[in-house]
């Protein structure tokens, strides 16, 4: 049987959702028999590839880079999963939303430095005014809340998707 092409992506989050994915422990051996991980923090692919079956995305959309990435991911993936509260609601990253970006950057790079004070601009992406959830930018097929979602619910989602079903998560997940 042809293996499914699975990709994972980490935007503005803490990687706790990716860690919870790794917390499926030895079940990774079974998943690896049914799917190739074609992109993500655990593998060496440099570009998000075309023709992805399942893209699992952690984190909110916070920068111009994040925005471009999530649009590319949507174009190239059949199923897009928003994994965790930051991807679903923008959660902790959105705590900055009440503050102007300039104020945030000045606090850190001017007030918070004693040498070379100044806001970095060279080779770093511009922040969006607000950190926003994936569904504000692209169509999301499966929402998996949790901070992070448990390893067992992530394994359930993966298994259902690999079996060709959209997982029914009622009573299996919660926010926080």
């Amino acid at each position: 049987m042809k293996k499914a092409r699975v990709a994972t992506l980490w935007l503005d989050g803490c990687s706790g959702c990716h860690m919870s994915l790794v917390d499926i422990d030895e079940a990774i051996l079974i998943v690896a028999q049914r799917a190739d991980i074609v992109y993500g923090p655990l593998v060496d692919a440099q570009e998000f590839p075309p023709d992805v079956d399942v893209a699992i995305v952690e984190g909110a959309v916070s920068s111009q880079d994040d925005l471009e990435k999530i649009k590319r991911v949507r174009e190239r993936s059949r199923i897009l999963v928003a994994l965790g509260d930051c991807a679903v609601t923008s959660n902790v990253p959105s705590m900055r939303n009440r503050l102007p970006v300039k104020m945030l950057l000045e606090r850190i790079y001017i007030e918070g430095a004693d040498v070379q004070k100044g806001i970095p601009t060279d080779g770093v992406p511009t922040l969006l005014k607000q950190a926003i959830p994936l569904q504000d930018v692209v169509k999301v097929d499966v929402h998996v809340p949790g901070c992070p979602p448990s390893a067992s619910s992530i394994l359930f989602v993966l298994t259902e998707l690999l079996d060709g079903r959209i997982p029914d998560l009622k009573s299996k997940v919660r926010f926080g």
């Binding site: 980490w10 503005d12 989050g13 803490c14 990687s15 706790g16 959702c17 990716h18 860690m19 919870s20 790794v22 917390d23 422990d25 030895e26 990774i28 051996l29 690896a32 190739d36 991980i37 923090p41 655990l42 593998v43 060496d44 692919a45 440099q46 570009e47 916070s62 920068s63 880079d65 959660n91 902790v92 990253p93 705590m95 900055r96 009440r98 503050l99 945030l104 950057l105 606090r107 850190i108 790079y109 001017i110 918070g112 430095a113 004693d114 040498v115 070379q116 004070k117 100044g118 806001i119 970095p120 601009t121 060279d122 080779g123 770093v124 992406p125 922040l127 901070c147 992070p148 390893a151």
Partner: protein, 472 residues
């Protein structure tokens, strides 16, 4: 002139990119290590009650949330001006040992072992943990089992593997019961056996990497980390020590409240990650490293029997101060043994079951600083509050921040050694990524205020055109 961009650096925990400028002969002229995310915890936490800080700042990093929880609750202990019950301190350290085990196992097995086991120049499509599972199943299963054990220790103590709420200002919110203690003790022999097998394996292959060892960031720097008054390695508590490149102690038993005397912070125009520096040497000369290698350079010994045997052999082979950043890997394996031995000592202490585990108090000081050794190095949380306990100011310095200057120098050194613009090969760029991996940077941590690392390496020619680019 040409530019290579590695974007992102893969198999690291976060988002970074590297730009490499080549001269007309194709030799490396200049490099830059960019961290490309910024989140702003130091600003947006203003106004929050101080006792929310552990839960909020744990969300800086899902890889080492326990480190942030610990540095944060220690800063909160200081605001409450309490001395926490002795058993609470033991339980926090025990939790931390679980985290050191899982985080170091992740770094070694899941992220870096593919370079060493499959080869720096091997097929990038297979050069990952799945490739290791296929080619070296026994070692891969050991890695998964060891990480799982560390996570289970956290889960057993704190109820959740990631972002638990067990550690609180004043101690922990529930004592340890006998059943849970015995469950952890029952898993320790197997975890220790794995750790010892792995270090034996590593010691058998390490000489194959003599060229990488000689070129992976071996410029002399200061080292920094926590020790106790006798110089024993400490992870949860202790005083901060700096040693110079010859091993001479230049600062010892630094109290948390004195950190700003010794550590300054510089902004880097090309990175969202600031660069802390050792103030007495100034910027940019005050380069120091933190993390497993630095800790084994500052400590006189680990203080547990099996780890101390390895500690002695490590320094006998590579010197009193071990310079090469490649040896972060070796040091990490020694620290796993130490963490498992510490767990055993703590669990076998009858006091670990004491029911007094939490001190309660309100705001008794308007400022608090907490320092702990995260898996990747020294972590500092510094808060100021008003009389109501609302945060008015916060500063966080994370492990990867301390290492920022050293990582930049290491990237430059590796690029100069391996990159030849006349005949570019993927393996050359992978080595540049690999030296970053050796530091095990936590890009989520470093991006709390600074930036998340999507690693992006660009090769730029003399005219400024991008000739090659790697992104993760």
């Amino acid at each position: 002139m040409r530019t290579i961009v590695i974007d992102p650096v893969t198999r690291i925990e976060g988002h970074a990119k590297i730009t490499i400028h080549l001269d007309d002969e194709g030799k490396v002229a200049e490099t830059a290590f960019h961290v490309t995310q910024i989140r702003g915890f130091e600003k947006f936490t203003e106004g929050r009650p101080f006792y929310e800080m552990p839960a909020i700042t744990a969300r800086i990093c899902g890889i080492c949330p326990i480190s942030h929880l610990l540095a944060s609750v220690k800063a909160c202990d200081a605001i409450m001006s309490v001395r926490i019950p002795p058993t609470a301190a033991k339980l926090r350290e025990l939790l931390h040992c679980g985290q050191i085990t899982q985080s170091h196992a992740l770094s070694f097995f899941h992220l870096s072992s593919p370079d060493m086991l499959l080869g720096f120049d091997s097929d990038p499509a297979r050069r990952n943990v799945i490739g290791v599972i296929e080619d070296h199943p026994a070692l891969a299963k050991d890695g998964i089992a060891l990480r799982k054990f560390g996570q289970q220790v956290i889960e057993t103590l704190a109820k959740e593997r990631i972002h638990p709420s067990w550690t609180v200002p004043g101690g922990v919110n529930a004592p340890l019961d006998r059943v849970a203690r015995d469950r952890i003790l029952a898993g320790l022999p197997e975890a220790k056996a794995i750790a010892l097998r792995t270090i034996e394996f590593f010691k058998g292959v390490v000489d194959q990497f003599s060229d990488e060892i000689a070129n992976f960031g071996n410029a002399p720097t200061l080292s920094a980390g926590l020790t106790d008054a006798d110089g024993n390695l400490q992870l949860y508590d202790g005083g901060m020590r700096f040693v110079d490149a010859s091993g001479k102690i230049v600062v010892d038993q630094m109290a948390p409240q004195d950190y700003q005397q010794f550590i300054g912070e510089a902004t880097m125009p090309y990175s969202y990650l600031k660069a802390p520096y050792f103030k007495p040497l100034g910027f940019p000369n005050g380069v120091y490293r933190v993390g497993p290698l630095a800790r084994l350079n500052v400590a006189a010994r680990c203080g547990t029997p099996l780890a101390d045997v390895e500690f002695a052999e490590f320094h006998q082979r590579f010197g009193k101060v071990v310079d090469s950043s490649f040896h972060f890997h070796y040091a990490r394996l020694i620290e796993i043994i130490y963490a498992l031995e510490r767990m055993e000592m703590l669990l076998n202490d009858p006091a670990i079951l004491d029911r007094h585990v939490r001190a309660t108090a309100g705001v008794n000081a308007l400022e608090g600083i907490g320092i702990a050794e995260a898996p990747r190095g020294t972590l500092i949380h510094h808060y100021k509050v008003n009389e109501d306990g609302a945060i008015t100011w916060a500063n966080l310095i994370v492990a990867t921040g301390h290492n920022n200057l050293a990582i930049s120098h290491s990237v430059d050194q590796v690029a100069r050694r391996y990159i030849d613009g006349a005949k570019m090969q993927e393996g050359m760029l992978n080595r540049v990524s690999a030296v970053v991996r050796a530091y095990d940077p936590c890009l989520s941590c470093s991006t709390h205020a600074d930036g998340q690392y999507p690693l992006d390496i660009q090769l730029v020619d003399a005219a400024g055109a991008v000739v090659d680019r790697r992104r993760s």
